[in-house]
């Protein structure tokens, strides 16, 4: 199964975790007086710490017409502050033997450093500084805008699969900002300016909109006292807006699109369905969807692989994906990469027939048991990578979930029954909420 990872990334722009977490005993959480939340995940095997600050602000929180500003601001936070010169934060991390970076998604923006654990205080002093003290110049604005446009070139415009995904996603959401790419639409990115960046910063960068997630060789009490010293002195933003995004109206029409590009070598079909996300205190439906994706498209033994790759040999790759960690409605999706000589229509028909057969056959009890066993084992393996556990808490807490929700998730997964999976599938996988896309070669240009 050689191309699995590459194809998986073709359809999902963000990574998703298959692993659940049971390592509750490693995790502490508390809150500062200014409303900043803190999560600590301990692992004392190596003297290393990961220090992350997650903001509950991502591209889906941007004002209309300013797509990409959340990510643009993320870049600009590496410029000067009142006390640090441009680039000095990263240079200081590097000079202390650490690595730093940041990333932006629909629902969050994250800044992090990995460094020797005795450098945690230095990280906090600098990260808390840029939460409120950035100082941008007009030159920063112009040059960094060129950088993000080159980033868009590299990630999206040079990649027909990414362009296809962007179009498909835009069609999936009628009214919600998840339909707008995180990197931004080029024509809007080109107009982003100082005022746009500073307005987003002033609105969302505040301790009461941030979560500190520290993992590694640290003592929770020490993290708390350092956090109080550095982050606790920053006043909360009393005007922090509620995260109310424009919501999807009922979706009542199946949509289709065809994207042609001379750079496409391997055509494929993808279909996505608007699907509920994990909600705080109510994750059962999402758990059923998670298991549905595993049963249908979770590798060699999945239902789709069995039918399309082994029996019929109509596909070189099949997959089903569900990412439940999301503030608002997410998607459940299928991908079929047809074998040589199989048309996209044949591939799509085979997908439809196979899914219908799955509903008729019901869940294979042994397969469900194997998946649940692997999920339990993944809790053991997860302890080898506490930074991964830390990331999941960061994503959860910026996606409307609580620490308790994260810790309940493994048991909720184990409790899902075959009947619940089929019932949820019938409820969610409906043509009216779907987008079917064909990625095709442009034969006229290709010759």
């Amino acid at each position: 199964m050689i191309k699995r990872i590459a194809w998986a990334t073709a359809i999902l722009s963000t990574s998703w975790a298959t692993a659940a977490i049971a390592s509750d005993e490693l995790v502490s959480s508390f809150e500062l007086n200014n409303g900043m939340q803190i999560v600590v995940v301990e692992d004392h095997r190596a003297p290393v710490v990961q220090h992350m600050v997650w903001y509950r602000a991502g591209s889906a929180d941007e004002p209309k017409g300013q797509s990409g500003v959340a990510h643009y601001l993320e870049h600009l936070l590496f410029k000067a502050t009142d006390t640090l010169e441009a680039g000095e934060l990263s240079a200081t991390v590097a000079a202390n033997g650490g690595r730093d970076n940041a990333f932006t998604s629909h629902d969050y923006t994250v800044y992090f450093q990995r460094v020797a654990s005795d450098r945690l205080e230095l990280m906090m002093s600098m990260e808390s500084d840029r939460m409120v003290n950035i100082r941008l110049t007009e030159e920063n604005i112009v040059t960094e805008r060129e950088v993000i446009l080159e980033e868009r070139n590299q990630r999206t415009d040079n990649n027909p699969r990414a362009l296809f995904r962007e179009q498909s996603n835009a069609v999936q959401y009628h009214n919600h900002r998840y339909g707008v790419p995180i990197i931004g639409w080029r024509h809007e990115m080109e107009t982003l300016d100082m005022a746009d960046a500073l307005s987003f910063y002033g609105t969302y960068y505040a301790p009461n909109n941030a979560i500190l997630v520290v993992s590694g060789d640290v003592d929770p009490d020490e993290v708390k006292s350092l956090a109080e010293q550095y982050y606790g002195v920053i006043p909360a933003n009393p005007d922090l807006p509620q995260r109310l995004r424009t919501e999807e109206p009922p979706q009542t029409a199946a949509r289709r699109l065809t994207y042609k590009d001379a750079r496409v070598a391997q055509p494929y079909v993808q279909r996505s369905y608007l699907a509920p996300e994990r909600d705080s205190g109510s994750q059962e439906q999402a758990a059923a969807l998670f298991l549905l994706a595993e049963l249908l498209g979770g590798g060699t033994t999945s239902y789709l692989a069995n039918a399309l790759q082994f029996d019929q040999q109509t596909a070189v790759y099949t997959g089903a994906f569900y990412s439940g960690m999301s503030l608002d409605d997410t998607t459940f999706s299928f991908l079929v990469v047809p074998s040589e000589g199989v048309s996209l229509q044949e591939a799509e028909d085979a997908l439809d027939q196979t899914y219908a057969a799955f509903l008729e056959d019901g869940v294979d009890a042994e397969q469900l048991d194997r998946i649940k066993l692997q999920l339990r084992a993944s809790e053991i393996y997860a302890r080898d990578n506490v930074d991964g556990i830390a990331n999941r808490y960061g994503r959860a807490l910026t996606s409307g979930l609580t620490v308790e929700d994260v810790q309940a998730w493994p048991d909720i997964l184990q409790a899902v029954t075959a009947e619940q999976i089929i019932a949820t599938a019938k409820q969610v996988i409906q043509p009216e909420v779907s987008v079917t896309g064909w990625l095709m070669r442009d034969e006229e240009i290709t010759q």
């Binding site: 190596a46 240079a91 033997g97 600098m126 590299q154 415009d157 040079n158 750079r263 070598a265 033994t301």
Partner: protein
């Protein structure tokens, strides 16, 4: 808030001492049957990461059989012993173990992860995988279809196009000069017997290196190694001789209709066992070693906004050494990016680095080193890499000393000797304005 700024300044100036190095206690274990492995015992989590590496990689492909070893490695998870592909996959799932396979130009790797509670069963399945892979014709054809699909995609990926062209120019007819995945024609022509032959050429004791980390002791590991690997043949296929590296200075432009050009650039490199290697390693960190502060990132990205990322990296392979870099830039900016990189190459050759740059690079490299040892799998992989390179078992404890021993004179002498602005070649894929291929 005012006091807070001063705290920042104070901390920044006083905390530059080196962090403690992670303690990684490696034991050498020799099994009753004579197989050697490096082991780090850590019983805190009930699983083990096992890394097996076989020297040779795709460079062992028989003449005319390019892609055989890559396809063979892809078929290892497609059934073994009595178990056909799907039953094999179910058996692996029921153990909650994972086996993954990787083939490179110099090595073929198997990375396994298994729970303590069913370790013997997992090892029995891995033993069958290594000794009795089925290579059923139906599986060969199915996975061949996946490989061919990948090759067709690579043919339209500007990064792959650049990589293939650069390798062909640099290494010519040597196995390094072609893609280990093979070509559409060569992969299409592979037979089951070719796959069986490829398997025989790779898996042999004389090419084997082993690392294990986790919940296992020396005695358990020794017994496991004999079960798993004791019956391997003594010798595999002969490793090819060294490659002759030919990199003419200049530019090659490969036309491809896409908005952003991608470029690979490179020149002759330096061997891993060259006494000047650490000086080169430190110099590269300063030039383009991946941090935001490198000269290339500063000049090409931070000051001019010509790219999202630009990097340089030493490529000391077993059979040849080159020094490479990569950059991507819009078609109307690539020519300027190429010029800035050339200027930096020149500056490094003629001016070398400053004492401050050297110190910053050393503190970074020595401080970052312990961060690599962050999990059982990564540690197993690092230990095997050390063995393949012929490094001593105490290397981890001495490595930072070697970095710290590099002097300004070492780096600047090396820079003057190694950096070859006239021998630097750019292979650019796209439609870069104002750039043309150099005359032959």
């Amino acid at each position: 808030m005012m006091g807070f700024k001063h705290i920042v300044a104070a901390l920044v100036t006083c905390l530059f001492a080196l962090p403690a190095l992670a303690e990684v206690k490696i034991k050498e274990v020799t099994s009753p049957g004579g197989i050697t492995a490096w082991l780090v015992e850590d019983h805190s989590i009930p699983f083990t990461a096992l890394e097996l590496r076989f020297r040779g990689g795709t460079s062992l492909d028989a003449p005319g059989k390019r892609g055989a070893i890559y396809l063979m490695a892809g078929l290892l998870e497609e059934g073994a012993g009595d178990l056909m592909a799907q039953d094999y996959a179910k058996a692996l799932e029921a153990l909650a173990a994972s086996f993954s396979y990787d083939t490179g130009k110099d090595t073929t790797s198997i990375s396994a992860r298994f729970l303590s509670e069913n370790r013997d069963d997992a090892i029995a399945l891995l033993r069958d995988t290594i000794h009795q892979p089925r290579f059923d014709q139906v599986a060969v054809d199915r996975v061949r279809g996946q490989v061919l699909s990948g090759l067709r995609s690579d043919a339209k990926d500007p990064n792959d196009i650049a990589g293939r062209a650069f390798a062909a120019m640099t290494y010519g007819d040597h196995p390094y000069g072609t893609d280990g995945k093979g070509t559409i024609d060569s992969v299409t022509a592979l037979t089951r017997q070719d796959i069986v032959d490829a398997h025989r050429s790779v898996f042999a004791r004389d090419q084997l290196y082993v690392g294990a980390v986790g919940d296992i002791n020396a005695e358990q590991l020794g017994a496991m190694l004999d079960t798993l690997l004791g019956d391997l043949p003594d010798t595999g296929a002969p490793i090819p001789g060294p490659a002759t590296v030919t990199i003419p200075g200049g530019v090659t432009v490969i036309d491809f209709d896409t908005p952003q050009s991608v470029a690979l650039f490179g020149q002759i490199g330096i061997d891993r066992d060259d006494p000047r290697f650490f000086a080169a390693y430190v110099m590269n960190q300063i030039l383009g070693g991946g941090s935001f502060e490198s000269r290339l990132m500063t000049e090409v990205r931070e000051k001019r906004g010509l790219t999202y990322g630009v990097y340089s990296y030493l490529v000391p392979r077993d059979l040849a050494a080159i020094y490479m870099g990569s950059v991507a830039s819009a078609n109307d900016k690539m020519a300027q990016a190429v010029q800035v990189i050339r200027d930096e190459w020149n500056r490094m050759a003629t001016e070398g680095v400053t004492e401050k740059e050297l110190q910053d690079a050393k503190t970074y490299l020595t401080g970052a080193y312990p961060l690599r040892f962050d999990g059982n799998g990564p540690i197993a992989s690092i230990m095997v890499g050390m063995q393949v390179q012929g490094l001593p078992i105490d290397y981890i404890a001495t490595r930072n000393d070697k970095v710290n021993a590099v002097t300004l004179e070492d780096v600047n002498t090396l820079a003057a000797e190694l950096m070859d602005p006239d021998g630097l070649h750019f292979t650019v894929v796209g439609r870069p304005e104002g750039l043309e291929s150099s005359p032959e």
